[in-house]
């Protein structure tokens, strides 16, 4: 058995996210929000274009998050996972909202 991953930081694996909104809707503290849009993808050989959802932004407000991990547990595509990280110091309230660039799964401070 491996040691449990410390519950420090929730990383988003952008490519795995389908914008299904399950994490957003199940979050007890309403700390997650996301934006996405639809795109039609034409694949060679396909009879008609396929509609896919494209993630535009994903935000976690660490001023509200209570690290319960429900989002990590419920994500059907394993697009959220715990990563060890420290460095949550923020200059202001708004700085605690981590957008898609800051949820990229970096393991260093920042």
């Amino acid at each position: 058995m491996t040691a449990p991953t410390p519950h420090h930081f929730i990383a988003l694996i952008e490519d795995a996210c389908t914008s299904c909104l399950i994490c957003v809707q199940e979050c007890p503290t309403w700390c997650i929000s996301l934006d996405s849009h639809h795109e039609e993808v034409s694949e060679p050989g396909a009879r008609r274009p396929r509609t896919v959802s494209v993630l535009d932004d994903f935000r976690i407000d660490y001023g509200l998050c209570m690290y319960c991990g429900i989002c990590v547990d419920l994500c059907p595509f394993d697009a959220l996972e715990w990563r060890p990280r420290v460095g949550y110091q923020a200059e202001g309230r708004d700085d605690l909202v981590h957008d898609i660039a800051r949820l990229d799964g970096g393991t260093s401070d920042g």
Partner: protein
């Protein structure tokens, strides 16, 4: 360690039960709080001995619409802050409390915030992020956002 030991007493015997526990070798008040059961509130206290290995839970029930109970502050001075917190958070009146000022909240206007029936204002003011439907898929099942109770909504059942 008798952590599961919970003694239920009548409201009238609340302070006397605490006095008996104190004099019977459990002089430390570890906890005093309330559990909202709907029609009734459970007032719960836990007392322990000097080692912390022996403890006893005391519990009594008060009516939720006019919760009133004797203060333990005369028996256990440590109860004073706990009771001030319970008073402001759950609206329980402690008879004979030496200093009934709010402990944490500024002012006492509005419904007691930790009672289940008290709407959480921020949940009604803020738009639920889950309402955004970027995939233009409407869920067939109408669901309430987490943290919102049906009776808070206009026309909701009480």
């Amino acid at each position: 360690m008798i952590a599961d030991d919970m003694l239920e007493v009548a409201v009238a015997e609340w302070a006397e039960a605490a006095r008996e526990a104190r004099d019977g070798g459990l002089p430390f008040l570890e906890l005093l709080t309330v559990v909202d059961r709907g029609d009734e509130l459970d007032v719960v206290a836990r007392m322990s001995d000097a080692s912390g290995r022996l403890s006893l839970g005391l519990m009594t029930r008060v009516a939720a619409d006019a919760p009133r109970i004797e203060s333990l502050a005369a028996v256990l001075p440590a109860a004073s802050w706990h009771e001030r917190e319970v008073a402001e958070m759950f609206g329980v009146v402690f008879d004979g409390h030496p200093d009934p000022r709010p402990l944490l909240l500024r002012g006492t206007a509005g419904a007691p915030p930790l009672r289940r029936g008290t709407p959480l204002a921020v949940r009604l003011e803020r738009a639920w992020p889950g309402e955004v439907e970027p995939a233009s898929r409407r869920r067939s099942r109408q669901q309430l956002p987490p943290g919102v109770r049906p009776e808070w909504l206009p026309g909701g059942s009480a």
